[in-house]
Symmetry: C2
Subunit: 556 residues, 2 copies
């Protein structure tokens, strides 16, 4: 069996200019980055805004399990199948972070015959977006420390600086550091830490900005810390939003690449799905919607986190809401939700499928709360049995949700045709009537409570004493009109990662709130959140290499 | 008077494919980065190696003073003038670091009508080379700390790790840090620090590598620290040279841009000129030599440091030595070397010119030691008088060195014609007979002594007790066959920055040696060397901005 990189390197790519033509993009609309990558020009991004929008399909999933669900692969395969059916289709996907690539994963651009290419570039520096975000983030840090050093005119409390530095690497030794040591000319000693770049608020800002002006406004609104009187200090107080926007001026343009099948894909932005909203950029999704008849996009984690954030945080910044939601499930994962252990998944167990279906059913109901048609994608694995598939299809039929088996990993576009047809039918038969879960005017407390009770199925919310005082403080600062971004485990509807299936009668404790006033949301932390991964004992980097003529090796 | 960025933005650029055609490069030889930047393909870089080489002109300078000498501007103007005379000409220049751009300088790509374009891109992310180097450097740091955390199989002494992290920013607070704090899962606490990216040994490695294989070999040879028994630990012991080379696989390809006049310019690599050798990449210079009849390149700082390193460190990696050396001087700077203070430079003073000429004369003699023809470029400033110019021209004539006035900042290519003609004549009249100052087999002590006595004109060298024990240790490790890279003040031939003109009878003290076994040289430190600049009270970043349609503002 071929590895992902072997399949990728055996694919003959089309020049990106030819791919662009499929959706009416001309040579002058592109800034080429080599023959197979391009950024869209500002002129084109602006020009298409007046065009009508095509249909938008959001791909999400059940709560992920160690068995894996293959959401990106299904997204890519679905888009390819829509292309194969003659629909003018585009993908809008997140771009991967280099840190995990060097650590465990070795690559993240789909899999098998459903990949975006050139996977080596996408997994390494791509068009430099991550580096621009890293640079903007760390330029802000340097400017903050320089402000302290040069007299601290703004009166920033050095103990209450919340802006951290970042690197696009898995580097646990940088999680907690002390900077400014050695001598008075080396600045003010203080505690600091590094997150991975995708956890930077600037990533979230870039992904929610609708144009350069909006980007600059959001950058200006970032809170970097507090004064001794506890009043917030914004980037606009430092007057450096212009410089940060300048550093990001190219990174904000969506990147065009292609799938193995030749579907045009905008791969752009990739914020964390816990302390941020976990979707590719608004500009990529919006531009794809204006260019294509069908746009397939994806949200991070399961539908309780990723799709909720897509619909409550990202969608208000888009020209239109999704027309349909695809929920990806695998029989293996459903059997885990149904009570089986990881080493029991290879044997047929229709009862476990039935029990695990509860998890999928709750996600289906949740998406229907938003007024959206739902389609289930059953991503096939080698040990799935016909009896298990039949049980799952019957359960879906009972609640009137179309379901289609998918084999795009092995078969490419052909393996996604049933799903593509089901999606087209769902959209044509039932127009979406998007309703947001909460309104901006709801208090932060109400917003969180609605998410916990209506989406997670929890009983109630407990706010720590810290969170309670923050609720008052944030209302005073005028931050209570912002949406909420929940930072919760992806493995369960509850805040207990081992509570699979559909947990009942649980409370969610909000430990702390974090203002991301530039991105434009308030993060609600339900537990410890890791914002800087570490490397494993045998990092993927040990297998990586490059040949004398520049061919990448060891990206899986 | 127009600012550099105004002149740049008022210039209509040619598509880079048209610029490439001037030196026989075709569309397929390029990886485009937007319409005005490209990287050369590996295939083309390899293919031209068998072509004969054109003439190489090295531009260097007298010891710099606060009055400024304009070396990059003269290099660009000289190349443009050679183009204007019908010579097939290329430039090979360093690429600027973002840190100083955000700090004081606001930009570094020539000036006036002698600039490389697009200056905004070159001064910001360009084609991502700096970011790739930053990433490779910091990936190595993360892999070292991970090795410590995962059991430290190699027995690295955590107190003797010499590999530091980098950022491409001026960030004094990162000069000395403690990493690994907070918890056992956050790694081993230890002292560390950040240099600016251009000070990374990986920058020097990239700039001296002759191909990807050589790059990987040099990366493998980097010393990252020592074991408890003081034996060195190399990157090859960690087995990550393949991953680092993979991260650098595109960064190693030279970048093609254009001057205002339309001369093709390879702008690639930019190592520090103190703790590294301060020249653009070997691959850029070599490729230009194969493509053009005349290649103009530049070395950092004054000729005592930059040209010495070009000739003793870089040249052995090139297919041929320079055919001529241009030494840039200004009357203002000569008057400072002649004893005037900065506020006295606007008045005519031919005696100060005469006195200051001694500095220029010593550099001329030094370059002649290498067997190379020399031409003096007098870079004109507004307050220069005819009498002063006449004195300088007469002094040059007395020692039989051609001199030409240059006004390329104000006049572009036309302002460099006299210099271009003088350079062509010098090359045609006197074939270069390059002799290196020392041989690889000289001991490190002898190499340093030759540089100090023959180039600086010093009396002798004093080695600190630390340096003395290092000399023995380095010989034991087999590092004594490497060339020496002097880290000395650029402002004086001596190690005292305020000793202008031609200091006599001075000793140079070597405080410490630093192994850069990957780059392939041993750094000899004569004093404290700053490898991480700080930001000023009013950083250039405060003036930077970007318009709604993506136009950069505030890069001077």
């Amino acid at each position: 069996m071929k590895s992902d990189i072997e399949i990728a390197q055996n694919t003959e790519l089309s020049p990106i200019t030819e791919i662009a033509e499929k959706v009416g993009l001309k040579f002058d609309d592109l800034d080429l980055y080599g023959p197979y990558k391009a950024k869209l020009s500002f002129d084109k991004i602006k020009a298409v805004k007046s065009q009508k929008t095509g249909k938008l399909v959001l791909v999400t999933a059940i709560n992920p399990t160690p068995a894996g669900e293959g959401k990106s692969t299904v997204s890519i395969g679905l888009a390819d199948a829509l292309s194969k059916l003659g629909k003018k289709t585009m993908l809008a996907l997140r771009e991967p972070s280099l840190g995990p690539v060097m650590g465990i994963k070795g690559g993240a651009a789909g899999g098998g015959y459903a990949q975006v290419l050139p996977m080596e570039d996408i997994n390494l520096h791509f068009t430099g977006d991550m580096h621009a975000i890293t640079t903007a983030n760390n330029a802000l840090s340097a400017l903050i420390d320089n402000h302290l050093q040069q007299g601290n005119e703004l009166g920033i409390d050095q103990r209450r600086i919340i802006w951290k530095r970042v690197v696009d690497l898995n580097d646990r030794a940088l999680r907690q550091v002390i900077v400014g040591l050695g001598s008075p000319v080396n600045g003010i000693p203080r505690e600091d830490g590094f997150d991975i770049t995708v956890a930077s608020e600037i990533m979230a800002v870039l992904c929610l900005a609708t144009d350069l002006k909006d980007l600059k406004k959001r950058l200006a609104n970032i809170v970097i810390g507090y004064r001794h009187d506890r009043s917030p200090v914004y980037v606009r107080d430092l007057k450096v939003e212009g410089a940060l926007a300048l550093i990001l001026k190219d990174a904000v343009k969506p990147n065009l690449v292609q799938t193995i099948y030749g579907t045009p894909a905008l791969v752009h932005g990739g914020p964390f799905a816990n302390i941020a909203h976990g979707c590719n950029s608004v500009l990529a999704t919006e531009t794809a919607m204006h260019l294509a008849d069908y746009t397939v996009t994806e949200a991070g984690f399961g539908a309780d986190l990723g799709a909720e954030k897509f619909l409550d945080i990202k969608t208000p910044n888009l020209p239109a809401a999704p027309d349909a939601v695809v929920i990806v499930a695998t029989l293996r994962a459903l059997k885990m939700h149904g009570g089986l252990a990881k080493d029991e998944l290879d044997k047929e167990d229709t009862d476990a499928v039935k029990a695990g279906f509860a998890n999928l059913k709750r996600h289906i109901e949740n998406m229907r709360q938003y007024g959206l048609p739902v389609v289930v994608a059953i991503n096939e694995f080698i040990n799935d049995t016909a009896a298990e598939v039949a049980v799952l299809e019957k359960l879906c039929a009972e609640i009137n949700v179309p379901a289609a088996a998918v084999s795009v990993w092995a078969d490419g576009a052909a393996g996604g045709l049933a799903l593509a047809k089901a999606v087209i039918s769902a959209i044509e038969e039932q127009p979406a009537e998007y309703k947001r879960l909460y309104s901006d005017d709801d208090s932060l407390e109400d917003k969180i409570t609605k998410i916990v009770t209506k989406i997670y199925g929890g009983k109630s919310v407990v706010f720590s004493s810290k969170a309670q005082s923050q609720l008052k403080q944030f209302a005073r600062f005028g931050w209570d009109k912002l949406p909420v971004c929940m930072a919760k485990t992806q493995y369960s509807f509850s805040d207990n990662p081992s509570s699979l299936g559909v947990p009942k009668d649980f409370e969610i404790t909000i430990r702390e709130l974090v203002p991301k006033t530039g991105a434009g949301f308030i993060v609600a932390l339900t537990g410890d959140v890791m914002t800087m991964p570490g490397l494993p004992k045998q990092p993927a980097a040990l297998n990586m290499d490059v040949t004398e003529d520049g061919k990448a090796l060891g990206l899986f």
